[in-house]
Every structure is written in C-alpha cells, then in structure tokens.
Symmetry: C2
Subunit: 323 residues, 2 copies
C-alpha cells in the first residue's frame, strides 16, 4: 500500500503545485495574503505552526458572512411566507399580533412586539410538524422564494469569495462548519448543495424535539421550545457541545460572532480570526456600528486591538456573487 500512496501523493503534489489561484475573487491585498499565509503555515509539516488534519476546524457564521442578511435575515422572510400560508388555518391571527400586522403587510407593526413577538412567530411557523416535513417545506420555499431587492433566489446571494475560501480550506484538510444564530433546521436542507457543508457540520439555534410514532412510523416532531440560542455566548457553547474542540479559524461579520472569535483566537497555537466588514453600498450593503441587523461595533474595536483580519468588502473582493 505504501508505494501506491506515494504515487498518489506525488500525483497530487504535481497537480497542486501548478494549480491556479484558489481565491480568484479576492484582490491581491493584505487580507488575502493573511489568509494564504495562515493556511500555508498550518499545513507545513515539520514547522512549529503545523496543525494535524484532525484539528483543522474552521467555523463560519452564515447570515452576513456566507450570504446576505439585508434588509432582514432571510429566515424572517421564510417565517412571513409561512404565516401567510398557514393563515387560513388560524382565523385568530387576524386580531393577534404579530400575525395581524404581518398579514396586512405592516412589517414595522409586526416587529413592534420585539423579541417576544418574533419568538411567537418562529414557534408558530417552525414547530408542530415532523423534522422530515419541515425539511420539505424549507426545500420547496428556498427553491422559489426571491430576495425583495434583487429578485434573485436567496441561495444565489451567497458570497463568491467565501465559497472560494471554504473550498480552499477544505482542499487544505480543514473541516468547515457553519455556526449560525439561524435555525439549524432551516439551514440543513440546502447547505450541502450551496456551501458543500453537510448537515452534520451545521450548528445553529435549535428547538425541542419529541420522538413519536406517527401512523406507525417513527418520527421526530419539532416543539416550540427554544433549546439553544446560537448567538453571542451561545456560539462557543454550540461549538463545544457540537464539535467538542476549539476551532483554529473563525469567520464572522457581527457582534453576534464576537465570542466565537474570542474563543477561537485566545487559545495557544496558530489561530485565525476574520470579520467581513460590509463596506460596499453599491454592490451589496454598507453597515456596521448602527445597524439593527448584523451590528458590528465592539467587534470592530476588538479586531483592531487584537490584530484580527477585517475584510473591506469594497476593496478586498473583486466579485460579490457567483456568476
């Protein structure tokens, strides 16, 4: 077997040595250089920064890091569409907030109830069915739904440079995970197809589940209780519970990702932490310290203090979306 492996290694070496730039959508700036420098040093056998393959764990936030999160988290649009679809079975929603405002198209009114109203809406639209049925609902929705501004499918509004980064890390032995505040069951039906990240490598907010035999078939049924809120402090907790070891690289875009980056980059050994800074109002959106969605304030300060990498979307990326 030894000689076969040697032959394979030699063949792969030849092919990677002459490979094209793995990050063509990244301009040749210090940001790109920092990424490549980090990857090259951890894969270099014999170097003091070498990291074994099994420990090459990289975690990515989703909303605003891998795909767009403006003018509102995409899962919110899903919930609104579900409220509309379910409304005929819920006549009481005509007079009950936040449903009444939503059904009248009054988003501000719906959001006036704050987090409690949002949780009511999530419970009403994300629970009560089996996990398999929810998977089907999400799959059907995401195949048809369109972004309100661009009119494109939501899964087309992923960042091409980040797709290249995911592939580049995997080609170098990294295992890539999503660690998102979004619902775990909302992401899993499409992350493998869109990002190459299988369901078992998706960490997200999750609700209670109940095992139940329905019509003679074992199922898991989604409950309306929130079991894990995978945001802020919840991100290192979700990582510890789900992955069980500290990442060596973490990628986010908001203060909701700050604890994940702290957790990742405070441990000994080579570490890489990166924030995507939305600076491109022309090609995408520009927002940071004052934004209600994807606020990046403390994170910007801490990134500067700790010399983390910050992507300036406008100057670091020559392409935003896949062609």
């Amino acid at each position: 077997m030894k000689s076969i492996l040697t032959a394979i290694t030699a063949l792969l070496f030849v092919s990677t040595t002459f490979a094209a730039d793995p990050l063509p959508s990244w301009n040749d700036t210090p940001t790109k250089k920092a990424i490549v420098r980090f990857v090259e040093k951890v894969v270099k056998e014999g170097s003091s920064d070498y990291v074994p393959v099994s420990e090459r764990i990289a975690t990515f936030d989703n909303d605003g890091t891998l795909w767009v999160e403006q003018p509102m988290y995409f899962q919110f649009f899903f919930a609104v569409d579900r409220v509309k679809a379910l409304a005929p079975q819920h006549p009481e929603w005509k007079t009950k907030e936040p449903f009444a405002s939503l059904l009248k198209g009054d988003m501000n009114g719906a959001l006036a109830g704050g987090e409690a109203a949002l949780l009511d809406m999530l419970a009403a639209t994300h629970a009560g069915m089996t996990s398999d049925d929810f998977d089907t609902i999400v799959t059907q929705w995401i195949a048809k739904a369109k972004h309100p501004k661009t009119g494109k499918p939501f899964t087309s509004m992923v960042y091409q440079p980040m797709l290249e980064l995911l592939a580049y890390l995997r080609a170098n032995g990294f295992k890539t995970f999503i660690v998102s505040g979004g619902g775990i069951d909302f992401m899993r039906p499409w992350t493998e197809r869109v990002y190459g990240i299988p369901p078992e490598q998706v960490v997200g907010s999750s609700g209670g589940l109940k095992y139940e035999i329905r019509d003679g078939r074992p199922t898991t049924v989604k409950l309306s209780t929130l079991v894990h809120n995978d945001d802020k402090d919840g991100k290192p907790i979700g990582i510890q519970r789900h992955i069980g070891r500290r990442p060596i690289a973490a990628f986010g875009n908001s203060d909701g990702d700050l604890q994940m980056l702290q957790w990742t980059c405070s441990a000994p050994g080579p570490r890489f932490c990166l924030f995507v800074h939305h600076t491109d109002a022309a090609r995408e959106y520009a927002y940071d310290r004052q934004s209600s969605v994807g606020k990046l304030d403390k994170g910007l300060d801490e990134a500067k203090a700790k010399s983390w990498t910050v992507v300036d979307m406008k100057s670091d990326w020559n392409t935003i979306y896949p062609k």
Copy 2:
C-alpha cells in the same frame, strides 16, 4: 485533473481487489455475511440500493456495543474515583448520600438512592470546571484506571470485531458516529485514539455550559443541569439534533438503543440494524432480559420480528479484545 483521478482510482481498485478479509475477527457466519452484503450493495454504483457517500451515516452505541459495560458502566467507576479525589474538599460528604456510602466502599448503599442519587453524583463530579479541565481529568484517569475484574485498562476492553467493523465501514465511505447514553465530555477525550471517531462525531448525554472569561481567558464552564439524556427516545433526538439526517445503519446492544434502531430501519431504502447479544460468559459476560445494566428484552423481540441482525457473541466472534 481527470487523468490523475483516473490513475488514482485504478491504483486504489487494484489495491482493494486483492485486499485481505477486512473482518478477520468475525467467524464466517450469516451475521458476517449480512454485514458484507449490506455494505457491498450500498456502495455498488448503478444499483437500485446505491447510497451516495454523503448519506452513508452509521451510528454506534458505546457501552456494551463498542466496549464492555459490566459489572457497571465504566463512567460510574470514573465518578467513584472522582468522589474519592474530591472528598477532602467536601467534608459534608461523610454524612451525605450517596457520597457517604461510596466513600465507605458500599456500592449497593450508594445505588440505593436510585437515579436521583446517581444524578447528584454526576453533578458533583462532572460540573463546575471548564471543559478543558474536565478533558484533562478524563485523559489522566483513563490512562491509569483498571477494570475491577480483568485488571486491564478500560480502553483495552473494546471489542476487536467492532473496531474492524468501524474501519470496514469507513473504508467504504461511511461516516461513523457514536450515539451513547454516556456523557459526551467523558467520551470525546479518547474516542479518536481508540475508535478513530473524532469528537465532532460523538453524540452523548450532555449538561449545560456557560461561556465565561476566567483569568482573562475565554472558557466554557460545565454546569450541573442535564440538557440532553441520550438514551431511548433521546437517541433519535440526539441524532436529529447533531447529525441532522437519518443513519442508514445503526448498532446497539440494549433496549436503550431500540428507538435508534427503529428510527434508522423504518425509513425507505437500504437499512441495516444490528444488536450485539452478550452470550459469552467465558470470554466476556452473558446477559440480556434480566440485566440491570444493558438490559436487552424488547429489543430482542423486535429484532426477531423485524429481521434485524443479532450478533451471537459466542459463535460470531472468534476474538473479543485487541491483542
């Protein structure tokens, strides 16, 4: 790249065609034949039973399936040793059950308090420290602790036929997971070394976690609350939450695994469910319907009714432990 891949495929084909028996510790019985038949059919491209690599998920119980669970779950011995180690800091334990009985060496007295007493003991010995510190404690304990009957390290009391089965499945593109009632943090420090299963593929019972900056360093701290009991109904729930898709093969040994096997084998497509039946009092232990540890009663009946595979340890395995 195409020609390189073709060359690699050809080389690998040559090497696997002439490979030795991947399951040498399994006698040539119908059990072994059923395993091989299942694997060969799901990997055969173009066949109606073909399963893509990404869906080749196999889940394994740990206690009694991958390693011994008699005369008591090994994690219990760990907890007892922790009680002894921590006793000097807890003078109140001298008069408080189950600690008082434990410290006097009276196991029956300690267990008289039932599940509540056990949970008290787990909370006292598994919580309050950081995840990193607990990892170190487990690693140090398992390197030295010995089984009370055989005097061997616990990690030597794993089943050689199951190690071969794990490797055989992985060589055929399966991703292997542990789904155990045992504590997730108790297993993760050693499953990669012993079973080749990395921490992120271990599902188990888990307690609450808190994110905390201790001495300026971000940590997760283990709390005494039980967040997920990964047994019986908890196994399909743990699988759904952690893996996010249904396994196509599941391996257990007790009624605590029954729901995992139901969940796995009730879905359409090729499926494989197996119970290890402990029938070998001479080389290991013999127990099933009446056992307080690893009771296999309903599972035996359901395996028969549903034609699941049952390992008769005495006749199916020619070797029990690694040499």
